[in-house]
């Protein structure tokens, strides 16, 4: 294996070594089964997106009770919190149950896309896929920026900006971008690696939040809670309580529904589980659902108990931890731990997208609805290209929205709920078709779920339309159209490229005569000789061949010198006469005169295969290489667009020794 890696330049070798250190040595395809996930590692990878929603869903509900974007939250919000949270909890149970059924029916993965495509048709399938793509990108952006928000709430010095020349960059944006890059690198190392790395913080988060909520219960039962901020309760009571409109409650419900996101992730990545895949995935989803319910409802309860209203720069979860653990030394330590665990779980939530997005893209690619190379596995058995796309898009979002979670949430939920709706409709249709044992129950549950999530999708699209949900509404049809266009192209490609019996019948026709053209610049040097030598080799021994050299004359003075050199240097060394055609280029162009010259050649040799040799040279240095071969590169590009031409790139190596020496590790 070392030999495989070292067969390249020294510089490239060093880069490769560095890469191996960062990403790990390449993995052979044969070990792919060993890199499947057991439940204990699958939970942090696939479920933590849903779990982490807990870290911001409650806060997002409360933030909808602001009267203006700058005013504080109306304290009446707290009296609605438990109710809204319960409604969302019911939705969680319905959606999770539906997906557990889907896992058993579609054990090869693809989740909502596969369910919708199979039962509702290609269009709904692609809508579900597109929604998921949007969702996954937003998950990374929302999770990371939310994680950074938590961090900033603790280390207040991280608020602020950095000035680079005339640009002002906020520190949270910088931190978010850095985090995404780290997550990208870990995922390029492999899925199992990310499972191991994130298992500890994920379980720590679950433990810490359970502990905090347990403490809250204990304090309620023992009446031992003393508000840390004395103004908190007083303020709550003195604030004028205005009537809350239905639209505010609906918006709060919509925002809180972000707690559901990530529930679908398990169903997309079933193939990453240890066998029996479907059973393990289903178990994981059950555990996830229970954890989700306990933590989401518990947090709503604690928030209400402690009269917590999030402020600019401090999140609900860190305030709950502070109140639960108290201000003693050990309490402060536990609060700190909670903050770090929250940051960690939010990072792993982004990791879920990195596990899901590339796999879904690969499944769609295999069906021919996205570029086929997305299905390729990289050196570490992950879909590298999908990972890069996800990284690029989510960083773009973070930068565009200045790493403000709240600004991203409106974009978020519409896509997820469209995907929930389609998936559940698909499941309902499948149940009604199959008429299997107990199909009525499955049908009813999924139909009910589909209708509710459908309503939520519409409410979200409507109530958050002006805040940014319109972008999703515009983006989805474009994405779907894009998928269709790609598929149409692949269909046409397969049709056009299929070999037909009429294509070739070589026994009846002899090979075409060949015309080898060497393009010669006004300078004659060793590179020219190398090209001519190659040409001489190609025509050697063939009677139906011709070798000609062509020079495009830009400066007639140089042509005179060229002709002299040609007869003095080139022909003596090659040993025989080669005709040098000089094509005048009054407009100082290179490619056009060659194309004209070729058209004339076409005339005289109707069936001739024209081989054009472009002599290049390799300076052996990355820095100086850019000073040469410009014309050859441009010519290759231009001539490649022309049918019936074969282009030969011959290279003269100015430092062949240096190249050889760079290959130290070779076996011969």
């Amino acid at each position: 294996m070392v030999n495989v890696r070292s067969a390249s330049f020294t510089v490239r070798g060093t880069i490769q070594q560095l890469r191996n250190i960062v990403l790990g040595n390449p993995l052979p395809s044969s070990v792919s089964l060993e890199h499947r996930l057991p439940i204990i590692l699958a939970l942090p990878v696939f479920a933590s997106d849903a779990l982490s929603s807990v870290a911001y869903a409650t806060q997002e509900i409360l933030l909808q009770f602001k009267e203006t974007p700058t005013s504080p939250i109306n304290p009446i919000a707290l009296s609605y919190l438990i109710g809204i949270s319960l409604a969302i909890a019911i939705l969680i149970v319905i959606v999770a149950t539906s997906y557990r059924q889907a896992i058993h029916l579609y054990p090869s993965g693809g989740g909502s896309y596969s369910v919708s495509r199979d039962n509702l048709g290609v269009l709904p399938g692609l809508v579900a896929a597109a929604s998921l793509f949007v969702d996954y990108v937003l998950t990374v952006a929302v999770s990371v920026s939310s994680g950074v928000e938590n961090l900033v709430a603790f280390f207040k010095s991280l608020q602020g900006t950095v000035h680079v020349s005339s640009m002002t960059i906020s520190i949270p944006v910088l931190l978010s971008v850095a985090l995404i890059l780290v997550i990208m690198l870990i995922n390029l190392r492999g899925t199992k690696e990310s499972g191991w790395l994130f298992a500890l913080p994920a379980y720590t988060f679950v433990l810490m939040l359970t502990l905090a909520l347990g403490m809250a219960f204990y304090r309620m039962l023992t009446h031992s809670w003393v508000p840390i901020d004395a103004g908190q309760v007083a303020e709550t009571t003195t604030h004028t309580l205005k009537a809350i409109s239905l639209i505010v409650i609906l918006r709060a419900f919509s925002s809180g529904c972000s707690a559901l996101t990530g529930v679908e992730a398990v169903s997309n990545g079933i193939s990453a589980f240890e066998p029996p895949e479907a059973k393990n995935a289903s178990k994981t989803l059950l555990v996830l659902m229970i954890l989700l319910l306990v933590m989401f409802l518990g947090l709503a309860f604690a928030t209400t108990l402690f009269h917590i209203l999030p402020t600019e720069g401090e999140t609900v979860i860190s305030m709950v931890a502070r109140e639960s653990f108290g201000s003693s030394q050990i309490g402060t330590f536990l609060s700190l731990l909670m903050t770090f665990a929250t940051l960690a779980i939010l990072m792993i939530a982004a990791n879920t997208s990195f596990a899901g997005f590339p796999r879904l893209l690969a499944i769609v690619a295999k069906d021919g609805y996205s570029a086929k190379s997305f299905a390729n596995l990289g050196e570490r058995l992950v879909h590298n290209q999908g990972i890069f796309v996800l990284t690029g898009l989510s960083m773009m979002l973070i930068i565009m929205f200045h790493a403000k979670t709240n600004a991203l949430i409106p974009l978020y939920a519409v896509g997820v709920f469209i995907c929930f709706t389609l998936s559940q409709f698909g499941m309902a249709k499948k149940a009604s078709k199959s008429k299997g044992k107990g199909w009525q129950r499955t049908f009813a549950l999924n139909l009910f779920g589909a209708v509710i999530t459908g309503i939520v999708a519409v409410v979200q699209a409507y109530s958050k339309f002006h805040e940014g949900a319109w972008m999703v509404v515009v983006l989805l049809p474009l994405l779907v159209l894009f998928c269709y266009t790609i598929h149409r192209h692949y269909t046409w490609f397969d049709k056009t490229m299929t070999i037909l019996p009429s294509d070739y019948n070589p026994l009846s026709i002899p090979p075409d005569p060949i015309l080898v053209l060497v393009l010669v610049s006004s300078d004659i040097h060793r590179g020219t000789l190398e090209g001519l030598d190659c040409a001489r080799n190609l025509v050697s021994g063939r009677k139906d061949s011709e070798l000609r050299a062509v020079h495009i004359e830009v400066d007639p003075e140089k042509t005179v010198r060229l002709r002299t050199k040609w007869s003095q240097l080139v022909e003596p060394y090659l040993g025989y006469h080669i005709k040098l055609d000089v094509v005048s280029s009054p407009y100082r162009l290179i490619t056009e005169p060659i194309l004209e010259f070729l058209d004339q050649s076409d005339l005289t040799h109707p069936n001739t295969r024209i081989i054009i040799i472009l002599p290049e040279f390799e300076t052996g240095s990355f820095v100086t290489q850019f000073l040469h071969n410009f014309t050859a590169h441009r010519l290759r590009k231009m001539l490649m667009d022309r049918p019936n031409i074969t282009i030969v790139s011959s290279r003269y190596f100015m430092r062949p020794k240096a190249w050889r020496e760079g290959r130290g590790g070779l076996t011969y």
Copy 2:
């Protein structure tokens, strides 16, 4: 000529047509003499940089009398203005005279670079060239932003910003960038074109400023001036007059020296003049010098007379015009005309750089100190590449400095004065060497000029060091080093690539045997057949040849299908057996296994010329092309770095008809 242009795709044809409309039809090399400039057109092209300096030099002198960057200008500035301006006027006469001598001695152009290189050595020559490069880029930035400043002074609504997403872009910056692009396009059309287009506004500026200064004289002589702004005179007298330090006067003098910039431009572009070139260029410079003296001194006088102190948002020249022409209807009209003429001359000043920079870069390129392609003439007989570089760099500066002229001035003058100093030292040395008739006078004048401009350069570098002149001080050595590095590479290149008698002796050795390898992907389609056909053709009739197909196995399942297709589809059509090597790639890499495979081939065929055929296909559509040929492109890049391999790119055209039809205008 139409035929030459149409030999390409339809899309490319349309772009070419659009290009011809914007830039004009390509010009043949034979008409280059017809595109030389007569004096009447050369003046607006080459001299307007110097003339336009008048539009800001006076203002820059006055601005140095601010006590803090935000305070108003100390009115005592006006009592120093005439004195400082006279000192600068003397410098103008000395420098212009020196350059007129240089023009006669170096009639092929290159100005300060040629003079310094020839008389002082390569290093001083490159320092002069680097200074000029910096100068030309700054001239574009300073002139355009100054022109826009004038415009904004008139149309106050243009102050302000435009918001795009989270970015804030000031309107002056946008206008400046747009202006630079327009000037670039005009210059890509050709030098004479820009001469014609800018002759009218240039002469209008000279006329209008002369008229304004004439009016000012008239008003002084007839005592008919009534201040338009009543507070102006009063304020001047009540302001406390603080002592002005010598450093302020030196800085004012340095800033005012920007009036000298552009004096060297004529000497760089002598080859653009009509014959007799040197005589015409010298005449032009004389006219320029006289105009410069009259206008610069006249403006200083008028400013003093009218007690004008420039304010934020209004320039000296527009204030002088207002006072001279009065507030009557015709006066307002003339003021407006003056403003537009000022804007125009500032734009043409940038145009001078576009005429000078690419020509100088070409001269340096011919000597091998910059990339040789800078010497190429484009389709309209101008050095396109130099024009693009100048456009890019000046736009970068404008954006970095937010189009504030004053922020750019400190960067400006150091380079120009280094170049003046070197040029005059060179001239002095040449005079002392030649000992021709009256050499003592030439020697004395140039030495005196060199010393004075040298002192100015040092003063400027010192006094404006912290404001930005340090950048020039850092930049110049880097640029010079860069030029040397390029030259060293070209020298090495020529040495390495020169053909030696020992290189080739083909009469004694027969052509090497060839091994043709066709790389086959897991899909077998028409593109594969095309590649195999090409290979079959290359080996046809040669006994010392071998043809093999190689497949890199990433997915063993696909290999099974490939082998079936190979025996069922490929071999029947080709008519004979071709060995298909399957190289297993456990790490799913493509290039590395091929390199390993080739190393083995190296072993078995020590002298064999290895020809690798990469089958590609052309979808005929720019949009879908990106879905294919990724691997072929990457392979070509990787394999090209390896000596002793010849790469053949064979292309299957999926839409050959569409290609043919796009070539409507062809003659056959």
